[in-house]
């Protein structure tokens, strides 16, 4: 099973070796897609976790117990369809299939589950129709 998450660390937990535990104690494969940690602020990390459902469930329990917040990734890149003019400029810089064009309607399709939040599309969109929440 594969899960993409945003893990938020309150300042007191910045030192917690989360990835170490996830790998060692819960047998998970951890792929860190992005991480930001600033002194005295919340740290945030976007990860892809891979492993058995049982192990994943236990890992979630562990994160909750120590006080880490783990949210599904979807909220990270926000797409504003009302701002989008469907030019498709963003599709050329998207490294995954998260941004594609419907060949019939020529409208943009944003598939959040394919997004790895590389943020390439932000600079490419002239209408601020995709923004980062990170």
């Amino acid at each position: 099973m594969k899960k993409k998450l945003v893990i938020s660390f309150p300042p007191r937990l910045i030192q917690e070796p989360v990835t170490y535990h996830l790998i060692r104690d819960y047998n998970l494969q951890v792929n860190i897609l992005r991480a930001t940690v600033r002194p005295r602020e919340r740290g945030r990390m976007v990860v892809e976790l891979m492993g058995d459902k049982k192990d994943l469930d236990r890992a979630f329990e562990y994160m909750e117990d120590v006080g880490l917040q783990a949210d599904p990734l979807v909220q990270e890149m926000r797409y504003y369809p009302e701002r989008c003019v469907h030019c498709t400029a963003c599709t050329a810089v998207c490294p995954t299939e998260a941004l594609t064009v419907d060949p019939q309607s020529r409208e943009l399709i944003f598939e959040a589950s394919h997004c790895i939040i590389c943020e390439s599309c932000i600079a490419a969109c002239p209408y601020s129709a995709i923004e980062s929440q990170f």
Binding site: H86, E107, P126, S128
Partner: protein, 389 residues
Amino acid sequence: MTRTIEEINAKIKAGKVVVYTAEEVIGLVREKGVSQAAREVDVVTTGTFGPMCSSGAYFNIKQSTPKIKCGGGRVTFNGVPVYAGWAAADLYLGCSALPDEDPRNAVYPGLFKYGGAHIIEDLLSGRKVKLVAQAYGTDCYPRKEYTTELGLEDFNNAVLFNPRNGYQLYNVAVNLSERTIYTYMGVLRPRLGNANYSTAGALSPLLKDPELRTVGLGSRVFLGGAEGYVVWPGTQHVPSPPRAENGLPLTPSATLALIGDLKQMSPRFLRAASFTGYGATLAVGLGLPIPVLDEQVMAQAAISDEEITYPIIDYSEAYPLARPGDLGRVSMAELMSGQIEVSGKKVPTGCLASRARAREVALELKQRIKDGRFHLTQPVAPLPGAELA
């Protein structure tokens, strides 16, 4: 078969006009042939929606009491400088104008989140803008400073006036260098990372009448959601470009200067855009009706995405330094597939003009003609290099 504008307008009035969009007509011609299609269809509507930097609007403000002479003074709308080199109350706002305090590319790449185009979009969306005027004061216009908030309805006149729109054919931009570049053709990644194009292809106004046989000075067009007019050839208009056999130009060529009442326009068809590292610009929705005056008009209006080809240009060196460089040509159909081949490499494509919104323009214009809300005009003069049908 021939047909006149008067005949078409009579049919519009009678509610009997037959209108196809420039996309729809391709299938019709394939099915029935040029002659039959020309007999059946009176008008073909085109559309495009994309960034056109040579756009802006002029305004006339109501006088304050005491009166003020803006001409020769300094005026801003929401901090964006407006040209005030005219009479007391006339102002011109270019879509790429920026507030003085915008860092531009000093913080590279600049974001250009607010400029002249955004003022236009704010006004069209019903928001007020703050006008600040400083003048030197005269005996007849003594006031030296004036600050007020204005909505679109508060201006005596608000007129969209674009010196260059609707470029006939445009380059496909790539980047051969080792670093990402930020251009008016969007973000171009290094080593042929992507290829960007900006055209409505088979819907594009001037590509569907490539020899400009039905459009000229005085032509009524769909502009920004309202009626507009072709007032002059656009700046940089190329009268005699090299052409392919089907009449299509091989390089960027014809352009149009357009005018229309901003107060009648809609933010759906005029949108502010911010090109990272390049600047602010206005995306303009433009549609031309093509009267089917003879079979040649129909044959050219039915040109398809497969037949329209564009030159591929390197924007890291060839374009900025005006150096020759031949990376070949590519068709609209290939561009729309999402991937093209350049120098043996597969390159993902992205567009800056919206085909979806261009289609909406063409359909909207078609509807207005069918409803009798839009009549065609006979051009009063051809564009340079062209001969009217």
